[in-house]
Amino acid sequence: MAKKILIIDDDKIFAKILKDGLTQSASKHEVSVAHDGEEGLEKVKQDRPDLIVLDMMMPKIGGIEFLKKIKLFNITPQIPVIISSQLVDVEKISESVELGIKGYIVKSDFSLENIIKQIESILNKEH
């Protein structure tokens, strides 16, 4: 089933790759992209996506701060968030888990196929 997915990542190339992958998948998802936390928050308010893929290392608003901020939006049900980064930062991951994330991606290690599979499975669970 097609879902609305929001990718928040300042790596424009990665964002494009993932967006293409998701829009061209069997589900043909609707994907929007934001390149920093502020823009991301705007798009969350506007589009109400079904899933957010959030890069943890971004300028202006960092990943953890973003997670805290969308909680304040008080959207129910809570939008599921998958965090992504280049490295495994155990501290950040556990802090994010406590903020309710649904999964995490190590960008350079996971293949595009795997990333899309994980996104799909979480989208399906949220039903």
């Binding site: 300042d10 790596d11 190339i13 990665f14 494009k16 790759i17 293409d20 992958g21 061209q24 943890m56 290392m57 971004m58 300028p59 202006k60 608003i61 960092g62 990943g63 953890i64 701060e65 980064s85 280049q86 490295l87 960008k107 350079s108 290690d109 293949s111 595009l112 196929e113």
Partner: protein
């Protein structure tokens, strides 16, 4: 006539007899004297040797006196030998009875000794309590009083510490010679002790000076955890730089349970263990803490643990550097992984039939691939440049080049970028810029690119970025020259270029961006520190090595680089090149 002869012979023989008698008496006296002298020499030597052996560096006066009186009976006859040592708090009286005497005898001795000390010190001593100890023969009922005695004052380091007394019930026993020898021996022993005390004091003084000046914090305690030595560094570490009587409790309090100093000292002192803790946080810094036992090095205390020592070694800086290095390394890894990861994914995608059919998509991916590999190459080149700079192996290839053209070329290069960021980008040139300047065009171009892109990045839409260049002539006022060239920039009040600087080309990039806060100004050209715009929490993209390399390039040209900024208004980055 015969009568006269007889008289003379008689007189002679009497004379000879008298002389012989007198001579032999003297001889025997001489023999006795040398025997006595021998005995006294031996006694003296044995005392000094025992002093050396038994006592070592522990200068307990009582021990010393015990040694002297211990072997006294080899040398002299006595009923009692006793000593009295005086202390502000108490008087110690010890008497050794060679033969039984009465209680009155002992009391008599005691009083005489006290009187002697009073006379020596010119002080009344009756109110001070006397601690008495008797050894040797038992007391007995007897009427025998003290009939012979003499006192020897005990003087160490110029101070009267006590008196030693030899007494007997027999009268007229002690002859001047014997008594004099004993005085001499005691004097020598006292002098030896005094000298030892001096040595100890000097060594202690040296040790204290050394410990005082050490940068590491040092605390030494005795076996009962009383602080014996504490240096200024240690007091500073626990936040009590001016306190005079620091105790172990001050340390326990200030360590706030982060380090069990008393427990570790106990382990060290009782079990002889050495203990070390790597990074203990104390008052904003980090310290490596070492606890070890201190053993006596000779004499009676050789090998015995006499104290414990705790050493605080400041590793705050080292830890900071390590932390920064770690952060730097993860940042680099992150930056390299991004383009690499993307290239890998693009490669996968481009294998798919569907993409290969779609020319537009295919071209797009080729472009993305190319961009990623170029990004990666940039990062690697930056890393290499920084490595060369640090190894002192960074070189520039200078040749005559047209600086105005180089600048105009860069402005053109950034035209698209500045337009999309809605920022005006323009060049301002002074009149006398030479056509050919000796410089490395590629590297100077790199410098300009870096500074221009930063200026654009940190400016808001509607802002302006100017690339300004003019000649500075020796002796002219820099600011006036800039003004004449129509250049407005942020005036450098701190690092002003001296007006008698040689003829120099000055190039500046001025923006109307957010400016740089005071705290960040120092970090600008530093490899490990990077900062970004305003209130960011995580690190921005990029390696932050750009300015480090810019500085390296300018310095390789023999020029200087500087920055002036006003927060919220803008900044000017400027550099000079010798023309």
């Amino acid at each position: 006539m015969q009568n006269a002869l007889v008289t003379i012979i008689a007189a002679c023989s009497i004379l000879i007899g008298a002389y012989s008698y007198w001579k032999s008496k003297k001889l025997s006296r001489d023999i006795v004297a040398s025997e006595t002298e021998l005995k006294s020499r031996m006694y003296e030597l044995s005392i000094l040797k025992e002093l050396g052996d038994k006592i070592g560096y522990s200068l307990n006066v009582q021990k010393i006196v015990d040694v002297i009186t211990g072997s006294l009976n080899q040398f002299i006859d006595y009923s009692t030998v006793s000593y009295m040592l005086v202390d502000p708090a108490k008087i110690v009286f010890k008497a050794d009875l060679q033969s039984s005497v009465s209680r009155q005898f002992v009391d008599d001795i005691k009083n005489r000794m006290r009187d002697s000390l009073s006379a020596l010190l010119d002080k009344k001593l009756d109110t001070i309590p006397v601690e008495e100890a008797l050894t040797g023969a038992m007391l007995k009922e007897s009427n025998e009083p003290v009939r012979s005695f003499f006192n020897i004052p005990l003087v160490i380091g110029g101070n009267v510490v006590g008196v030693l007394t030899v007494a007997h019930i027999k009268p007229g026993l002690y002859h001047e010679e014997e008594m004099t020898i004993l005085y001499k021996i005691v004097n020598q022993a006292s002098q030896a002790v005094t000298q030892l005390e001096e040595v100890v004091k000097t060594e202690e003084g040296k040790l204290n000076a050394m410990v005082e000046s050490m940068g590491d914090g040092i605390v030494m305690t005795d076996k009962d955890y009383r602080v014996a030595v504490v240096n200024p560094a240690a007091k500073f570490i626990i936040g009590l730089p001016n306190k005079n009587d620091v105790t172990i409790f001050d340390f326990i309090d200030h360590l706030e349970g982060k380090f069990d100093i008393r427990g570790k000292l106990e382990e060290s002192i009782t079990l002889g263990k050495i203990f070390s803790a790597d990074e203990v946080a104390i008052g904003g810094g980090f310290f490596q803490i070492l606890v070890a036992p201190v053993k006596g090095s000779h004499g009676t205390i050789k090998g015995e643990t006499v104290a414990g020592v705790v050493i605080f070694h400041d590793v705050t800086k080292e830890r900071q550097v390590e932390k920064m290095r770690d952060q730097f390394t993860s940042m680099i890894v992150h930056e390299l992984r991004s383009p690499l990861g993307n290239m890998k994914k693009i490669g996968e995608i481009m294998k798919e039939e569907s993409i290969r059919q779609d020319k537009k998509a295919y071209d797009e991916y080729v472009q993305m691939f190319s961009q990623s590999s170029s990004d990666m190459l940039d990062i690697v080149n930056d890393l290499l440049d920084v490595a060369k700079l640090e190894a002192g192996k960074f070189e520039v290839s200078k040749r005559k080049a047209n600086i105005k053209e180089i600048i105009e070329d860069r402005i053109k290069f950034f035209d698209t970028t500045s337009r999309s960021a809605k920022i005006e980008l323009a060049g301002v040139f002074g009149r006398e810029i030479p056509v050919d300047v000796l410089l490395d065009p590629l590297r100077i171009s790199q410098v300009l690119s870096n500074l221009i892109s930063n200026a654009i990045k940190f400016s808001r839409p509607g802002g302006r970025v100017f690339v300004q260049a003019f000649m500075h002539r020796n002796g002219q006022d820099l600011e006036r020259e800039a003004a004449e060239a129509g250049i407005s920039w942020f005036k450098d009040t701190e690092n002003k270029l001296p007006n008698d600087y040689a003829d120099t080309l000055v190039i500046a990039i001025t923006d109307t961006g957010e400016g740089i806060s005071k705290e960040n100004r120092g970090k600008l050209f530093n490899k490990f520190e990077q900062f970004g715009s305003g209130n960011r929490v995580d690190k921005p993209k990029g390696t932050g090595l750009g300015l480090v390399i810019v500085k390296g390039i300018i310095e390789a040209h023999g020029g200087t680089i500087g920055m002036v900024s006003e927060e919220e208004i803008g900044s000017t980055f400027y550099f000079t090149i010798k023309s």
